[in-house]
Symmetry: none
Subunit: 245 residues, 2 copies
DNA sequence: AACCGCTGGTTACACTTTGATACAAATCTT
DNA sequence: AAGATTTGTATCAAAGTGTAACCAGCGGTT
């Protein structure tokens, strides 16, 4: 009798291979999850309509509509986490590049233990985000002791000092926080950065704003530059970010 | 054995008259409330710090700090409902005009049944607030210790001091309070701000009014500007705002 | 290693937006 | 009608932003 039975995570397995179905059903159930298995996309939609699920394990190859397409549709309307199973011989990297939006990929044949690890990881990640929270709705970003309040537009240093930010500095920092650990090139940043006032931003105004932002952070006595340059590519914000609403 | 014992409302009676204390203690307890009685302001503060209360019945005349002053301080920091008992012969209207911010007034001597009715009414009002309340119906806005009474059009500082507002200042503040945490541009503000007689306000009269409003808030010694500028966009009023009718 | 082109960091400067004050016109009070 | 208050306009100071210029490294080539 494990604990927390009442709050066991509900997992939906979508695969037409009956062997896999039986395997996952048994193994995951033994691990404390509530498992439902269906064989195709139509049944998946039905299941999702009928009950709540915390995660979907989705096979790539399915009768009828394939997994990639299903995954895309799913992500378009919800943030329900998805782990995709790719058939033997498929190139996982290529699949991942198809922009399906799955949270993780696992090539067949797989070790059930490996799947379990990924399930735990994905669920943990999904929970760290308030449910269905769009980046724009985030009220507060935290990163390495700093915090940025997106309503009052104030930045608090690790010591709790209020660091005044100009409009552009604020917008820039916010963009970085919304895309942590991603390299953003100048065009992307430019696009996202442009406020009403900013008509046709040109050339290197970006660089200047990055410089100013860095200086602001530096002024508070925090040397290690959080915003790193990727030469020839753009900039990257390299620090774990917590979101809070 | 009445229902909902677990959620019985907790009432704090502040009165130095032992007869009244005994009367209310017994009568209200019999009505299903949990009652605590204290004799002066100091004891009231102590009680409030110790436990949760849903309503305060506060006598006007008290040893030490009087009821009016206590009520002001109370309202400056919370929305805890207050019913004031005014001594025999006091003019209730005059008391009400003192801007104590009490939710109701009851002249002594009173019929306990009458007090009960007011308690129920005030509690019901306090509870129904968050829902079913249109911004236009709001009688009193509270923000960071300040209160704006939309009936008397008076602004109360956190210390309970009445801050006089000109018509434009009042309208502007009201607009901000009705749209908290939203960036309002000059056109919107202009549109909403223009009074009946005010025909064609021009150019930067907005800016001047914002400046004047800020000064009003600042004059009371409250530095951190609540009204923030968003360059090229407009202004934003950012603070948690509670509504009350 | 010396050279050289290129990318990016920083500073300076011009221009725009905004803050604050002074003053005048308008409105309200008494 | 006189005086006080409020409100809009003008004006100057301060802050924000984009562009340009100058430098410092980095990488690649010879």
């Amino acid at each position: 009798m494990t604990t927390r039975m009442a709050t066991a995570d509900q997992i939906l397995v979508v695969d037409d291979d009956t062997e896999i179905q039986a395997l996952l059903q048994e193994y995951l159930a033994r691990q404390g999850y509530r498992v439902t298995t269906v064989a195709d996309g139509r049944a998946m939609e039905q299941a999702l309509a009928d009950a709540h699920y915390d995660l979907v394990v989705l096979d790539l190859m399915l009768p009828g509509e394939d997994g990639i397409s299903l995954c895309r549709r799913l992500r378009a309307r919800s943030t329900l986490p998805v782990i995709m199973l790719t058939a033997r011989g498929e190139d996982t990297d290529r699949i991942a590049g198809l922009e399906t939006g799955a949270d993780d990929y696992l090539p067949k044949p797989f070790n059930p233990r490996e799947l379990l690890a990924r399930i735990k990881s994905v669920l943990r990640r999904a929970r760290s985000l308030p449910e269905n929270l769009q980046p724009d709705d985030v009220r507060r970003f935290r990163f390495g002791g700093w915090q940025l309040d997106t309503v009052t537009r104030q930045l608090l240093s690790p010591e709790g000092v209020v660091v005044p930010l100009s409009g552009a500095e604020y917008r820039l920092l916010r963009i970085f926080l919304q895309h942590p650990n991603a390299v953003l090139n100048r065009d992307q940043l430019m696009e996202m950065l442009r406020g009403r006032e900013n008509n046709l931003p040109f050339d290197r105004s970006m660089d200047v704003q990055v410089s100013r932002l860095r200086q602001r952070l530096r002024d508070e006595g925090h040397e290690p530059t959080i915003v790193k340059t990727v030469r020839g590519e753009g900039y990257i914000f390299a620090l774990p970010v917590e979101l809070e609403n």
